[in-house]
């Protein structure tokens, strides 16, 4: 049996801001509404999963300033604009699992007694019909210069009923703009790669979630960034729903 997952090295990204170090607690949860499904003949109360209810919440230490939790979040309280929230529970490692959710922030609280380190709690409310999404990290966050090609991952082909969800956080982009795309192919070398999705060119902090409807027979996927001379820091995940 594996060792416990000690919750000490997650990464928490909200809309192109790394908020990991602001937090000391975090949760992502999904549940289905329990629709009654009992009929004559049943010997017990029966239920069927209805629509998903997904939420996330976190807390930690208040701070304001560029890139700090208060400055990032305060302007968003009550805004209807959805931002992707991504959590890498075991770290931001290429190929590892992440969970993504598109959220607004309608609940933000801070306060303490005299002398305490000022804490905050933050609630994230779902703003997208996909709910909570389990994804694969295909472009770990790192500072890079120029073009970048993420590792190709064999996530599988898309059936007509499936879709690919691509989440991008750009934490920084200076010296021009960089365009990230999602490519697919049928071989590990991506010798005949097809561009399937193109994110809006990034020239600073930004975020975007794109979807691709199936069917697609290619089963390998990767994220590629094109921006010669641009210094950038980005993170991307892919998931098949």
């Amino acid at each position: 049996m594996g060792d416990p997952v000690v919750f000490k090295d997650p990464e928490i990204y909200l809309g192109g801001f790394r908020l990991t170090r602001a937090h000391n607690q975090f949760a992502m949860e999904a549940s289905f509404q329990e629709n009654k499904d009992e009929r004559f003949g049943d010997q017990a109360r029966a239920f069927y999963p209805g629509v998903m209810v997904a939420r996330a919440s976190g807390g930690g230490f208040f701070a304001a300033g560029a890139g700090e939790i208060d400055t990032v979040v305060a302007a968003r309280i009550g805004s209807g604009t959805a931002w992707p929230l991504s959590c890498c529970p075991v770290g931001d490692v290429d190929g590892q699992v992440a969970y993504d959710i598109e959220v607004g922030q309608y609940s933000y609280r801070f306060g303490a007694r005299h002398g305490e380190s000022l804490p905050f709690t933050l609630g994230h409310t779902l703003r997208d019909g996909n709910g909570l999404v389990r994804s694969t990290i295909v472009l770990p966050r790192a500072s890079r210069v120029g073009n970048v090609t993420g590792t190709g991952r064999q996530l599988g082909a898309l059936s007509a009923a499936q879709k690919l969800v691509a989440v991008l956080h750009v934490f920084a982009a200076t010296g021009g703009s960089i365009t990230f795309t999602v490519e697919s192919d049928d071989n590990a070398g991506f010798s005949s790669a097809t561009t399937r999705l193109t994110f809006t060119a990034a020239s600073g902090i930004t975020r975007q979630v794109l979807e691709l409807s199936g069917p697609v027979t290619d089963d390998r996927w990767r994220v590629v960034g094109t921006g010669p001379g641009v210094t950038h820091e980005a993170f991307a995940t892919l998931a098949i729903l």
Binding site: P10, A27, L132
Partner: protein, 145 residues
Amino acid sequence: MADPVVFKNGFFALSTGVAITHFGNIKEVTLPISHEELDDAVMGDNAKVMFPGIQSGEAVTVRLKQDFTTGSVDSKLWTIFNGKKLCFFKARAVNGAVSSSNPSYLGRGYVMNYPPISGGHGVALETTISIRLASGSSITRSTTT
């Protein structure tokens, strides 16, 4: 009188197939079985008399040690949960062969709740799922399967 069953090697299986094996990483299982209490009092009774109705279908809850390794707890649970898969579940007091002294409790249902990530800094991540009975199912006891 028999010795107590120290619940240290319990069996819990959860699968979309009938041939189900121990899930692993289980820390706690709660399997509530209760019948609704229907009012059965009539004139002449001096007390509130009740009759057992159908099973109330409270959620079966399972607490697990979280594991994000490929093919382990998180990936298995997510597949079942997010796919709204109808699952067979089976619990025994001891992870050994089913018998008259180690009966199985079985049912079919849906995983309605899954928090993959939840905790404070430094904790060992756990997750607690809840399972609700599906139409056509109730919790049954078996000494043979």
